[in-house]
Amino acid sequence: MLFYNTRVSFLERGISVKRLTLFAGHYGSGKTNIAVNYAMMLKKQGFDVVVADLDIVNPYFRTKDSEDELKKMDIELISSQFANSNLDLPSLPQEMYRTVQDKSKYAVMDIGGDDAGAVALGRFAPFIKDENNYDMVFVVNFFRPLSRTAEEAFEIMKEIEAASKLKFTSIVNNSNLGDLTTVKDILSTETEAEKLVALSGLPLKMTSVKESLYNELNDKTNNLFCLALQNKIF
C-alpha cells in the first residue's frame, strides 16, 4: 500500500518525525481520518505509536469507529470511556497524560474541532511546550462552507491557537467533496493552500487524498498522503 509519493519512509527521506503529531482544524475538516491513517503509516514505518482522541465536542464519527483496525495493527487508542456511547459527557481519561509524559512512545493526537474543541488541548500545552518535540498540523478542507478561502481558514487557525495555547507548525490540505471528489477538485484548491502558506508562514506538510485518486495525483502534487482507511457507514 502506498502512503507517500516518494515510496520511502520519512526517515529515509530525512524528515524527522516529531514525537507528538497533533491534528487540529475546523470541525468536519477530516482530522480524525487523517490522524488514524497517519498513525498507521508511522506504525508501518516502525514507530511505536499511540492514538489519542482529545475530541470532547463531537459525539458522532470518532476515532473510536476505527478501534478494530487500530487494534489489528497493535496501535493503542486512548479515548474517552464515553466515546460512541449514549452519554454526551465532555471528559478525557487520566491515561491521556501518558501521551505527553511517557516519552518512550510516539503519539498522534486527534483534537476536537474549532476553538471549542481545542480547549481540551490547553491543559496539556505546558507539557508539550516544555518537551518541544511536536508538530501541530492544521487540517483544512477548502470545500467546507466556513473555510472556503485561505483568509477564512487563517481565522479559524488563529482561534484554535488562542484556545489551545499552542502554535501550529504545519498545514495539511485535505480538500475533498467526499465520494464525489475528483482530481480536478483537489488541484483547484492549490491556490488557496498556497495563500494559506503565505498568510501563516507555515509549510504545507502534505496534501491528503482518498486511495482511488492517489495514483493519478501522485505526479502532480508534492507530498501526497494516501487516506487508505475510510470508515463509511452509509
Binding site: N58, Y60, F61, N86, L87, F143, P145, L180, F234
Partner: protein, 354 residues
C-alpha cells in the same frame, strides 16, 4: 471556489435557512443538532441577522412566536427532549396561525434517552406535539442535499399556509457529511397583511393571539383552520417511489432508514425478489393515496423505522389493512442493517409476515 461544498446535514439546514431569507434564529444547544446553532452564531452577525442563545427551549420558541408575529422568517432547532419543551409554544403558534420553521434532529428516547440517532418522534411530529387540534407540515429529508432543499421548501410552505413546518431528521443525517450544491432560493411573496408591523395610524391594528373567549368563535376558528389543513393535504403531499413499477413487496421508510432500505432492495432484487420503496417526504400530509394504490399491487409492506413502530400505524390506515404490514426496527440509537431489512422483505415475499 467550487460550486459544491462538503457539509454536515446540520450545516446544510442552517445555510439553506439563510438562503431562504431567515435572519432570526433562537435556540438552545442540544446534541446532536448543535452545529445548526453554532453555524448561525458564526454567520448571522456577518449578514445583519440575529442569533440568540435563549435561556431555555421554552424561551426560544416564544422568541420565535414574537418574530413570527411580525411576518419575518424565523426558526428554531433542537433535538427530541428540547422539542418536547417547545411543544407548548408550537400549540400557541398554531392557535395564532403563525408561520415558522422548527427543526428536530431526533435522538433516542423517551426521557433524556441518549444522543444517538432515532426516529421515535414521528408521533410527536405528526399527531400534534402540543395540545389542541392542530397540524404541522412535517418534512423528512434523507440526504444532506434534501436537508437544504426541504428547509427552503419548509419556509415557503409555512408562509403559504401560515403554519409551522417541521424538519424531522435524525442524528445521523444531522452529523453526516455529503456534497451539497446550494442555489439561491426563490422567495415567494405571500400576503402578510396580518403581521404586527406598526399601524403608523393608517390601518386597523393587527392582533396576534391564541386566546378566544367565545366558544362559538373558537369553534369557527378551528373549523376554518381545518379547511386550510385540507388544502395542504390536497396540494402538498411529497413522496419518492423507488423501483415500485413491478414491485411485489413495498418497503416504506423515511429519512435515514430509506437509504438503508434502498440497499436492502438492491440485495433482494439480486435474489430475484421484486422489492420497491415508497418514501414519504411529507410525513404530514401523509402520502395515503400512493400507498393505497400500492396495496392493490403488492403482496405486503415492510415498515423500516428507528422506533417501536410509529409510521406503521399510518401505513396500515392508508392501505386500509388490505395487505400485511410488518415492522423492521431498531431503537435506542441503533440503526437497522440492510441484512435485517432484507430478511423482512424475504418474509413479506413469502406472504409470511404479521
Amino acid at each position: 471556489m467550487a460550486e459544491k461544498v462538503l457539509m454536515k446535514g446540520n450545516e446544510a439546514i442552517a445555510e439553506a435557512a439563510i438562503l431562504a431569507g431567515c435572519r432570526h434564529y433562537f435556540g438552545y444547544p442540544i446534541t446532536p443538532q448543535t452545529e445548526i446553532a453554532a453555524y448561525m452564531a458564526k454567520k448571522m452577525p456577518k449578514i445583519g441577522g440575529c442569533f440568540l442563545q435563549a435561556e431555555s427551549e421554552v424561551a426560544a420558541i416564544n422568541m420565535v412566536y414574537g418574530v413570527a408575529g411580525t411576518g419575518k422568517r424565523v426558526m428554531t432547532s433542537s433535538s427530541s427532549p428540547g422539542i418536547s419543551l417547545k411543544a407548548e409554544g408550537l400549540s400557541y403558534m398554531a392557535g395564532s396561525d403563525l408561520p415558522c420553521l422548527v427543526v428536530n434532529i431526533q435522538r433516542g428516547g423517551p426521557g433524556l434517552g441518549g444522543i444517538q440517532p432515532s426516529q421515535a418522534d414521528y408521533f410527536q411530529a405528526t399527531k400534534g406535539c402540543g395540545h389542541g387540534d392542530y397540524r404541522m407540515i412535517v418534512l423528512a429529508p434523507s440526504s444532506v442535499q434534501e436537508m437544504a432543499s426541504l428547509t427552503i421548501k419548509g419556509f415557503d410552505l409555512a408562509d403559504k399556509y401560515r403554519m409551522t413546518s417541521m424538519i424531522l431528521a435524525d442524528g445521523t443525517l444531522g452529523q453526516m457529511m455529503e456534497p451539497v450544491s446550494l442555489e439561491e432560493a426563490v422567495i415567494n411573496d405571500y400576503d402578510k397583511s396580518w403581521a404586527v408591523t406598526g399601524t403608523e395610524m393608517k390601518r386597523k391594528k393587527n392582533l396576534i393571539n391564541s386566546l378566544s373567549l367565545v366558544p362559538e368563535e373558537l369553534e369557527k376558528l378551528n373549523f376554518e383552520r381545518y379547511e386550510k389543513y385540507k388544502l395542504v393535504e390536497e396540494n402538498e403531499v411529497m413522496y419518492e417511489e423507488y423501483m415500485m413499477d413491478d414491485a411485489e413487496v413495498c418497503v416504506c421508510a423515511f429519512g435515514i432508514t430509506a437509504r438503508i432500505a434502498k440497499n436492502a432492495i438492491a440485495m433482494a432484487r439480486a435474489q430475484g425478489i421484486k422489492a420497491g420503496l415508497i418514501r414519504p417526504i411529507t410525513l404530514w400530509p401523509f402520502p395515503e393515496k400512493v400507498l393505497e394504490e400500492a396495496a392493490d399491487k403488492v403482496k405486503g409492506f415492510v415498515c423500516v423505522e428507528m422506533s417501536m413502530g410509529q409510521m406503521i400505524e399510518d401505513v396500515k390506515l392508508a392501505t386500509k389493512c388490505k395487505k400485511p404490514v410488518s415492522l423492521c426496527n431498531r431503537v435506542g440509537g441503533m440503526i437497522p442493517s440492510p441484512e435485517q431489512v432484507l430478511e423482512k422483505i424475504i418474509d413479506a415475499d413469502k406472504g409470511g409476515n404479521e
